[in-house]
């Protein structure tokens, strides 16, 4: 099965002053009739020889859906806004050995705080494609394999690299959405 939804949200990156480790993301989903908020903590990536051999990045992530005054809470706790980004695009959901989510989005910065109307693309004409899947300590090897093989299907149109491993921006990235839609329509359904 494949399903698709629009993707439109602000990513607030906030951190406690003087503490690099205490960084957190507050996501505001603007696609809902009422904006919904999520707190996301992204931990350090798995390291070592085993991690190097896997073609995807494995890291801990904890999310919590929260009420809308979360930004004010973290400000009051002493956190400061580091930067915010607006991401607009599509999310595709596949069930293929793992619950795979592919987002194709343009990343925009805002000239004024929260001013989504005045957002400008960070990399005009280039879309960011991310493939993610939830995994546990027990099954991450299988999930990593499922994500890898999924990415291989996309290889003719799209070359995906492991985050942090810079293999350059691929010029065909803009075709990602079309590729995913045809993929979902022919192979998986």
């Amino acid at each position: 099965m494949v399903s698709q939804n629009n993707y439109h949200g602000i990513f607030h990156h906030i951190a406690l002053t003087g503490s690099e480790a205490s960084e957190i993301r507050l996501l505001c989903d603007l696609e809902q009739p009422e904006p919904t908020w999520t707190v996301r903590h992204v931990g350090g990536s798995m390291r070592g020889a085993g991690a190097d051999q896997i073609s995807v990045l494995v890291r801990t992530m904890v999310e919590s859906k929260v009420s809308k005054n979360v930004l004010r809470l973290f400000y009051l706790l002493g956190y400061k806004l580091d930067h915010e980004l607006l991401r607009v695009g599509f999310a595709f959901h596949f069930q293929r050995g793992a619950q795979i989510t592919v987002t194709v989005s343009s990343v925009n910065k805002m000239l004024k705080l929260h001013a989504t109307d005045e957002a400008v693309p960070v990399t005009p004409g280039i879309q960011l494609v991310e493939v993610t899947a939830p995994a546990s300590a027990e099954n991450y090897n299988e999930v990593a394999a499922a994500v890898s093989s999924f990415c291989e299907y996309l290889a003719p149109l799209l070359h995906l690299s492991k985050p942090g491993v810079s293999t350059g921006v691929v010029p065909t990235a803009a075709a990602a959405a079309a590729s995913l839609m045809s993929y979902g329509g022919t192979t998986i359904m």
Partner: protein, 219 residues
Amino acid sequence: MPIKWVLHWQPNAGHTVSSQILAEVSQCVESINGVKEGKWKATLSFYRPVLKEQANAAEFPRDFLGISLPEQPSKYYFVLRGQRLVLEADSTIQTIMEKLQSYKTRVALNFEGFQYQLGDFQLRVGKVVSIQSESLRGIVMEMEYRPISSWEKSHKIMGEFFDIWQEALSKRSLPGHFVHMEPNFGEFGLSGQYTLQHTAVQYATIMLQMIATAQSVRN
């Protein structure tokens, strides 16, 4: 969501809370035909900032609380009482707070006891104990009226029931009484329709009072 009043036991001057009082209160609920239903438990944590330099302490909020309620174990509530803020979050927020290491639990309290059914009312009587020491810190009582969820509309019937309860309890001549404190929910951005965020704010409010009482006894 049914309306609820959270009450706390205020000992008379020169007295402290005791398990004897708790037992008498529970007996009193049964004497007015409260039917014992089962146990309940809520937890409350006081957080303190993890500071590199103590001098900065004034910049951080002092009364930052986290509360979990038995009605909705998958949720967790933060209250910054001084700043009039209440936040509802998935309970995974506790894991996130642990990972962030910016605030740590200073004191953790359990509120636990039995709940009783009395017509359309549900009563919960509970002891307040510190998780570390199990020593009795206070007594709380939740008074819930199921048919109404509007704070304003329920005020009369809640007040009347509270009077009946006070009268029943007064026959036992205990050294203290239950107090109802009504926070200004509007200041917290909450409407008149009752939610669990209202309950969290009430717990934060009675904690303040219980700490003040404990301090006045010590002094």
